[in-house]
Amino acid sequence: MFHNDATPVEISPAATAAAAALATSLSPLRATGGSTGSGRFGATGGAGASATASGTGILIPGAPAELFSHVKPCPDPRATLDFCSLPASDGTGIEASVVRQIYDRRIRAADLFADFDRTKRGVLTRSQFMRGLRAAKLEGISPAALDTLANKYALTEDTTGQSIRWAVFAAEVEKAFTEPGLEKSPTKKLDSFARTVVTAPHPRAIRPTMEPEDAAAVQRALDAIIHRMKTYRIYSVKATLLSYDKVREWWSGGAWHRCGDFRPPAPPLITHRHALRRSLLFSAGARGHGN
């Protein structure tokens, strides 16, 4: 709650309690920033430590809590990166998202980390592991989520948790493509976690479940559209829709090869107006000029 400075501020016990609860809820973020962050994050974490000590989000140690109860606490900058990202507590979802993105973009996971590992032990520091993953430019994976992923592959012998077994992680991700040693057991069924993730239907391909009457309406509409397309030989819908897709999702996405189709050839970049004009010119018998 924000109050104007010109108006007198009435500090109710409920407001003080709410401020204390808010500061308490933010304290894990600040504590994380102070313990593991460095540089600009370390500075914020240090300020947060004093606020956690006073319990009300106040950045001036020793000041009365009531004077600053209206101040909106500043969250850790890394917390804002969690917006639209997977929650850091969802370890399985994070790994599934990483596997799917690496598979879709055909990244060889070992190449992300191999250059860091000078001694070829298959182990990197946490910082190197995070930098390797960050080089892949994964979407929707916050630094906190990367921490969770690193914790899963941490070396158990290292009590500090700073040694990450990147080779094990890369081998798990590579199982999305294939598994080693298939020539010895050609009938082996690929049922690893990574393979399960990439063979599952894409979330985008799952159509919503509708009420029976709504599903019937959709079916009627589709039947009418298909009938009309067949009757009047309407060919231009696909090319026009593709020309509206400026980011070329149909080209870079993984849906086509997962459907078992080859990638479609690039359609001509024509707008609907150009398509209409060209069809009119064709019907009028015009030829040439790039046609």
């Binding site: 985008r204 309406a217 067949k230 030989r233």
Partner: protein
């Protein structure tokens, strides 16, 4: 993904928009994207649904 307006514009150009309001609404809801793309239409799913209509 294309916007709802673009999708309807393409269909309207060749008179493929369902005339009944409920059919039009259900058609858009059925091919709507998920997550942050909920305001857009997954035209690839539509093309897959009408695939084979024309050779």
């Amino acid at each position: 993904m294309v916007t709802e307006t673009q999708f309807l514009r393409v269909l309207a150009a060749v008179d493929l928009v369902p005339h009944r309001d409920d059919e039009r609404r259900c058609l858009l809801d059925y091919f709507r994207g998920t997550g942050i793309k909920a305001h857009m239409i997954d035209y690839r799913a539509f093309l897959a649904a009408v695939d084979g209509a024309v050779p």
